[in-house]
Every structure is written in structure tokens, then in C-alpha cells.
Symmetry: D2
Subunit: 139 residues, 4 copies
């Protein structure tokens, strides 16, 4: 039997880059994850706004936690991201991943990135390939 | 008159996150950029492979350097990425951005991510919105 | 002053391919369009299911009617589509376009394709470039 | 043993919508397909240019013929398309599908749409899911 909390704990304990991002999980359940993090100076690009990769990364973490929540090891296959509004130093950014579809081999997830005022920053849509392996390494 | 070297120097000098990634520019010219970086432990996700955001980020930097090369401030509008093969600690990853199209308001760029053996890791396609501003802040 | 009904009527009157598809508009308002059509034999591909282009086309029409609803001539820049479930001859397919974001130069729209039982067939996300021209040719 | 010509013949014989499009195959081999067709009045949208779905459809056919060329039944999972330039009545449009990657479960294909003068009209990138079934129904 899987346990989505145990799956998340197993993933987070080894996730060095999510730690560097400073990700804090707000809510996690089957097919869903909401998290937030603070934009720091070292996350900026040459135009003084958050680097696209840093926004993408937080959405990608939320996506990974949502699509692996069932305990089946799932990996990102394809992702599209639309950038709507930049984020600046000191802003808290939220990433909320919801499930659009979960089939036998693939799953489809939507992640919305917003700031504290609720402004939409970016929209992320990811397709996961669901392997036949366990996340935790065993049952 | 713009100078693509000056544009790149101006962007890089303030690009904190590209510095954190350890990006080294191999070649830069109008509509083109090739760079590489080393995968470090702090770039890994919970499965012991490079975090998707770290692969995306390097491609996004190459894309930004290519589409801003003409001196017109350009920002990412939409990006799609397809993940083909993971990268591990100690691998050197190359990102090569080439121009598919450059119009008055938008530009379209392709970025291929490969490892030292030439294996394809990911394919990135980005649409830039070309503003009417200068990258360097003046002419 | 624009009038979204007049905009739609102007677009539909000349839209030969939407006519061929047999599109019927269920609802149309600012930033929104819902329509449906029937899958016919001539819409099938070589595997006996609806051709991907025929599903895309209906979503693209809903997207165009939604993003042009304000009277500003808008054209598709980038689109992503995820195919979830095929449709067969005799099925009625619904396309519902909703606005995620509408800025000065670009707009972002989500289109869901479903069948009569409410099964999700495909998810479409489109970025529109908003020109400075009028849809109707004048005000 | 598969035979890519036999696979193509089997697919084309039942492909009603590709017939409606008037698709003519210029070249077909493993992982590759080039085709062309003529833009007719019934393919236009409300702005007097080719409907986005009609451009997508030809690229989708080229993609399907390329990714099914090995005889393994393959279906489109995700597609992204970037529209660069419209096509008008009387233009001949070419779609050329090339393979970026072909793995065990998925394949990645690039399709370029051009007109007779070689102008780029659109760029299509498709991910195929490779089932364990045969295209031709037997070996």
C-alpha cells in the first residue's frame, strides 16, 4: 500500500535543488500539490527579474510531487510554460499543481504560478510518463 | 549601433542565476548561443538525477542570449521542453540555441541539450516577444 | 464600440472551414466560446478514429472566437495540444474556450474538448497575438 | 518483417481526412515523411487565410506517417505548433517530418511547414506514444 505522505517525504529528503529553492509544501494529496518559496537575489537573470528556469523549477517540483503522489514512479516527458508576469526579489511565489487526467501510462497536470497578491505569473502544463516502478523503492 | 558582445557582457554581468549554474559561453553571435555547464550535486532532484528546472534553466539562458543578441530587449513568452534522457552528477551539459525565425514582434528559437557523448537530453523551443527597448539601456 | 455578437457574425460568415466542420456555437461572450460539432466519416484518420487535425481545428475555432471577442483582430501565435482519448464517428464533440489571461499584446486561452458523456478528449492551450486592427474592418 | 511502404499504404487507404486535404506523399522512409497539398477556398477561416486546423492537420499527417513507419502503431500524445506566416488560396504547402528521437515507448518528431517559395509557415513538434500493436494488424 502506498502512502502519499511517505512518498513525498522520500522524494523531498533527497531533492537537493528543491531545497536550494527553499520550497515549502503547503498541501499535498493524491494528484495535487501546493507549495511556495521566496525569490532571492541569486535567482535573478540579467534583467533583474526572476530567471525563467527558477519559475519553471518550482512548477516542475509541484508537478513531480503531484504526479508521484500515487507511489508509481513518474517522470516528466513534455512540458509547456507560458510566462505572463515577472517576479522580483522578496516576492513569495506559489505553485499549485492539479491533475487534468491520469491514465495507465501517462498523466497530465496543470500548474499555476501566482504571487502573494494572486497575480498570475506563469502557466505550466506537464505530461508525466508513469513507469511501473515504485517511488519509495519498495511497497 | 549594437554589438552582440557588449549585449552579452551586459546581460551576463547581472545574471546571478546563470552564475550559480556555472554557465560558460562557448560561442555567441546574432541569433545563436552555445554554452555548457557541469551538473553538481545541489542540482539533483529526489530521484538522484538532474532537476528538470536545472536543464530548463540552461536552455533558457542560451535562448535569452540568442534572442537578445540583436540588442532589442526580448523576453520569453512561451516555451515547450521535451525531456529525452536524464543527466547525472559530474556530467557536462551543452545547450545550443539556434534561430528558427525572427520577425518584427516575435522570434522563435530551438535549443538542444546534449551531454559530452553527444546524447540528446532535451529539446526546448521558445517564443520571444521583442520589445522596443534596448538591452544595454542605451544605443 | 465593439459588439461581440457582431464580431462573431462577421467571423463566421466567411469561415469556410468551420462551416465544413459543422460547428454550432452554444455560447459566446467576452473571452469565452463554447461550440459543438458532429464527427463524420470524412473526418477520420487511417486508424478509424478522428484525425488529430479535426480535433485541433474545432478547438482552434473556439479559441479564435474567444480571443477576437473584444473586437481586436487576434491571431494564434503558439498552441499546445494534449490528446487524451479519441473520438469516433457519430460522436458529438464540445470545445469550450476560457480566458486565462488577456494583456495588451497577447492573450492566453485554455480549450477543453469533451464528448457527450463528459469524457475529456484533449486539452488545448493557445497564445494569441493581439494586433491593433479591428475584426470587423471598422469600428 | 515490416515494410514502410506497406505500412503507409495501409494507413492512407483508410485516411479519409488526409484524402479530403488532398495530401500527396513526396517521400516516405523510416522516421521521415514529406508531403504537399493545395490550399482550397473551403480550407479558409473567417480572416481569408488558411484555418490553423488545416495547417496543423497536414503536419499531423506527416508526423503520423513518419512515426508509424517502423510498423509499431503510434499515436500522438502531445503536440506544439508555432504559426509564423499564413497561407492563402492557391498556395501549395509542404510538410516535412523528421525524427528527433525514437525510444522504446515514445518518439519525438519535428515538422516544418513551408510554401513553394520556401517561406516557413509553421513549426510543429510532436510526441508519439509507441504502442505494442502492429499498424497493419498483423506481422
Amino acid at each position: 500500500m502506498y502512502d502519499s505522505n511517505r512518498v513525498l517525504a522520500s522524494m523531498l529528503s533527497k531533492d537537493h535543488f528543491s531545497k536550494w529553492l527553499g520550497i515549502i509544501i503547503d498541501e499535498h494529496k493524491d494528484g495535487y500539490c501546493k507549495l511556495h518559496y521566496l525569490i532571492r537575489e541569486e535567482m535573478l537573470n540579467g534583467f533583474g527579474i526572476v530567471h525563467g528556469g527558477v519559475l519553471f523549477a518550482a512548477a516542475d517540483s509541484a508537478f513531480a510531487f503531484a504526479c508521484n503522489s500515487y507511489g508509481r514512479l513518474s517522470v516528466a516527458l513534455d512540458v509547456t510554460i507560458n510566462f505572463v508576469k515577472p517576479a522580483e526579489v522578496g516576492e513569495v511565489v506559489y505553485a499549485e499543481a492539479t491533475e487534468i487526467y491520469c491514465g495507465n501510462k501517462t498523466g497530465l497536470y496543470d500548474v499555476k504560478l501566482t504571487n502573494e497578491r494572486g497575480d498570475l505569473l506563469a502557466v505550466f502544463k506537464g505530461t508525466a510518463y508513469r513507469t511501473s516502478k515504485d517511488v519509495a523503492g519498495n511497497g
